[in-house]
Symmetry: C2
Subunit: 274 residues, 2 copies
């Protein structure tokens, strides 16, 4: 193994310097005191590529050090990179880390919804999420938000945490890349969009306009609710409702897939990617 | 609890009549001798609503019997409906069955790819899957195939089984609804499409045509490969390649989401749902 200037070797699974990586699954449940955990090379690349979060440290399986040198060269000097043999790393974490890459980042101060809304460009496409309580769906939605260059995501207070480990992983770093803010109840969310002149389009199986026919406003928000209950009545009443036409007699689409379909359709027609 | 004419009460977890429901997770790995397992009310509805599979039996948590009477009335007379108290059901299955509904169906004789291709209507949209080895993705793709009324799905021999329990569940029954057939290697698959005059459109991040600009043939196949490796070179060379345009610098979309985006775009423009 080549010696690397940056990496600090960890031989002991009880080494206090890597305490933040201990018992990862148990910590998922009790929280991480202002920190989040990121897994895998692609997500680390997002964190090192200008994401708004500060890094605390990185832990890498020793056998991956050589291959990751180009990426590790971009790690700020003050961020320690720890390297441990795979069995030590797995013992610390509590399960096998297939990709051999973990990082701990700082959540920092939350973004304010009003600030995000005020700073939107003249043509903007945002997401507004109501009751998205499943981390797979949250991650999938943020992955699509990043793929289609969404400007911001707003979450009501019944939606789950985009910085939960599984959401970050499923989003392939999208949760770290796309700015998001919480904004209270669904009603407060719709009020805030209206107050800032952002048009609200609510996806619903019974929507009045077919997605393919929608001509959205310059600043548009796509509202998504949980599968099953969908968006609350008060939200549907105050938004322009939009449907994705489907074959008769089949259950509705997964909410993350719906977000991808709608974002693609809006981008292609009204918000071309540059 | 109301007595139900159809339901056969099971009091003993070792009752041999419900042996097919024992140790569900372990059986996922070793197979079910020509059977598959279906979970939940929506999937059972698909099975009872004209799917091509025969039902062996149904096992229901006793406290769900009353609410399911309208659906159970459509169960063929020769199919036994077993009812067990939730703790008995959970003990048989090996974990908690949240929705309280399981069914065992017969896989039967596999459909032949040639027959499916020959019987396509003059305007048809099919999927062709290469190397889709993840059951979540397989289920998600079939869910979208059902939502957008795809005529058939063809799988190469490296794709996983759409009748695996998790794939069926994630598809919300789509795997049971949409006819599918295996067809050997990816090359054999592309040959068969060409032999039947079905145009092949391969989704690829480096595709030459933007999905939004695609004008597909009357009989069209959308080819999807696994995330990461994507479609093999030999397939891309022999198909019309199509891309979903994304924001710069972000990882590609999930393959199930991609299928939803592409099917929606093709349906909206070229294969309107009736």
């Amino acid at each position: 193994m080549t010696e690397t200037s940056h990496a600090i070797r960890i031989e002991d699974r009880d080494d206090p310097r890597i305490a933040a990586y201990r018992d990862v699954r148990e910590r998922d449940l009790i929280g991480r005191q202002g920190c989040f955990i990121a897994e895998g090379e692609v997500v680390l690349r997002v964190l090192l590529g200008g994401a708004r979060f500060d890094l605390d440290s990185i832990l890498i399986a020793a056998n991956r050090l050589d291959g990751l040198q180009p990426l590790l060269a971009s790690v700020p000097r003050h961020v320690p990179v720890y390297a441990a043999a795979s069995p030590v790393m797995d013992a610390v974490v509590g399960f096998h880390i297939h990709r051999g890459i973990l990082a701990v980042g700082r959540i920092g101060a939350p973004l304010m919804a009003d600030d995000l809304l005020t700073s939107l460009p003249p043509r903007a496409l945002v997401l507004a999420l109501v009751g998205i309580a499943n981390h797979d769906n949250m991650g999938g939605i943020f992955r699509n938000a990043a793929a289609f260059g969404v400007n911001a995501v707003f979450l009501d207070d019944t939606s789950c945490d985009p910085l939960y480990r599984k959401a970050v992983r499923v989003s392939v770093g999208g949760c770290l890349k796309i700015p998001f803010a919480r904004i209270g109840s669904a009603e407060v969310l719709v009020d805030a969009l209206a107050a800032h002149g952002v048009a609200a389009y609510a996806l619903s199986p019974s929507g009045t306009t077919d997605l393919s026919d929608l001509v959205p406003a310059a600043q548009s928000a796509l509202l998504l609710g949980a599968e099953g209950p969908g968006l609350p009545h008060e939200v549907l009443q105050r938004a322009h409702t939009v449907r994705i036409s489907m074959a008769d007699g089949f259950d509705s689409l997964n909410v993350a897939t719906s977000s991808g379909i709608a974002l693609h359709a809006l981008r292609a027609k009204s918000f071309p990617l540059t």
